[in-house]
Amino acid sequence: MKEYVIFLAQQHPTFRVAELRALADLYKFEVDLSGHDEKSPFLIVRLENDDQASKLVSRGILSRGIYELWGVGDTEEELHQDVKRRSSHLWEKYNQCTFKFDVLAYKGKRSNVEKIRLIERFGYLDFHGAIRMKNPDQVFTILEHYTPPTEHDAAELPSKYYFGREVELSGRSRGVLEKYDLKKRKYIGTTTFEAELALVTCNLAHCVPGSIMYDPFVGTGSFLVAGAHYGCLTVGSDIDGRLIKGKGNANIKANFKQYGMPHLFMDVLTMDFTHNALRDDLVIDTIVCDPPYGIREGLKVLGAKNPERFEGKENIEIDGEKAYLKKDYIPTKKPYELDSLLYDLLEFASRRLPIGGRLAFWMPTANDNFEPTIIPLHRNLELKHHLVQEFNKWSRRLLVYVNHGDGYNGEENRAVTMHQEFRKMYFRSRRGEGTTLADQEKEE
């Protein structure tokens, strides 16, 4: 086993370990990530070899790069001592190749002159190869962690130094976020999910080349794009045909063309998830989505809210043709509970995913009235990740499940939650604790 240091992104510290864990799981190797500290972007891990190191970050969105660790220290002097102690046996191996040095700093910086001086102090490595700024054989990187005394003051010197040989840079460092930036995307809408977390979601969901990914609440297709980035053949559906159709030449398919992956777009279908057209025995490798947040945000399913009002309407004819068979017929829809929809999603996933296949979706924590949030569980599915993203007034969770099939016998909570939660909300409002469903009903 060898030590490597991973340089992580500052964004979404609570999601970083999960992404690394998911990638290690995907490539089926063990790694101890317990050294992770949300306050530090540096993480030292022990791995078998460079191949594992590379796999741990090459698809990464919340990592920047991974380096074979040659030394660590709280001061520059300590760093050099450690480099000499730890890595002198490696120097000869690299003393003929072309190379360059990089200096990467967290919460601090140096002038170019200072950088060069810092690099020159590594002269004892005695590398004879040519220095190449473009495509060198090896990149040696000094990573610096500064700890500013206050938010407004800069730290003079780093509080920690790492030195290592670059093994792999992440997707993030190779410009993936700029590529998928929504500002430059042809077709987006109000529901489009930001590229960064959409890609992270697809890492946690194990999207891999040659597999089929499905988004049942596809909207403007943001997860299809992210899944296709990782090589999935993607299919989506949504009850709102207008979103799927887009505007003129701006549509989901156009986004796939923009990103040079038209062959990874299968189709988008107008349909109600709860009346699903995908045949029961179709194996879907991965399901990724952002379900509608609730009744107020357009959660609807097919059917009539007051069925008696529609009785007999199927017999209505227009120009001698049944109205519901006409090409421009628009079916009625009725409100539905988010809880029910999420359990439908879990049930659907348990039937279509292969063993080991993953379901990943975002769940809103709608408002205080819904606390404590109940995480839906299904007897065939293991809840692998449960991550929270906090906003000012609300939060949402990313839930990732793995299908283990009928033999798993996991916990199941469908029957319990729905009624209890509903009652709690309903009666709390009666006691004057804010507006909830009971008041909304009165208003209507």
Binding site: L233, K245, P262, H263, D267, T270, M271, L302, G303
Partner: protein, 129 residues
């Protein structure tokens, strides 16, 4: 809607789930276009496992194509020239053939779904939902 997708979709009425006539749907009055895609044999091989071949034959017949073999070869080996030719045909049929307009009828309940601007619509009226 790609030809491939016709192999994945059934009638959405729950009442039809108890029959075997809800898949494949019957395609009528379809307008087709060919949209060129890069030929990637390994990509296609991944898809072949998921096909219901008899449904491929039925839908191809609906669309006027009766030239497909009655069964897929047991071992698909892209090195073999005959197989390669078949894969190219399948590539053109499954991935490059798009239905831009048309109707899909359930053989069980006879409900008709439409494809408009290449997008199929599987929404149902309340009495069938």
């Amino acid at each position: 809607m790609k030809f491939l997708t016709t192999n994945f979709v059934k009638c959405t009425s729950k009442a039809c789930d108890s029959t075997t006539d809800n898949f494949p749907l019957q395609f009528n009055d379809c307008e087709l276009i060919q949209e060129e895609q890069e030929f990637k044999p390994e990509f296609l091989l991944n898809i072949l496992d998921r096909l219901d071949w008899s449904a491929v034959l039925k839908v191809a017949h609906d669309l006027g194509n009766d030239s497909l073999p009655q069964a897929l070869p047991e071992n698909v080996d892209p090195e073999d020239p005959d197989t390669l030719a078949l894969l190219k045909d399948l590539h053109s049929l499954l991935l490059e053939t798009n239905i831009t307009q048309g109707e899909m009828k359930c053989r069980a309940c006879e409900h008709v779904y439409y494809i408009k601007n290449s997008i199929p619509n599987f929404l149902l009226p309340p009495h069938l939902a």
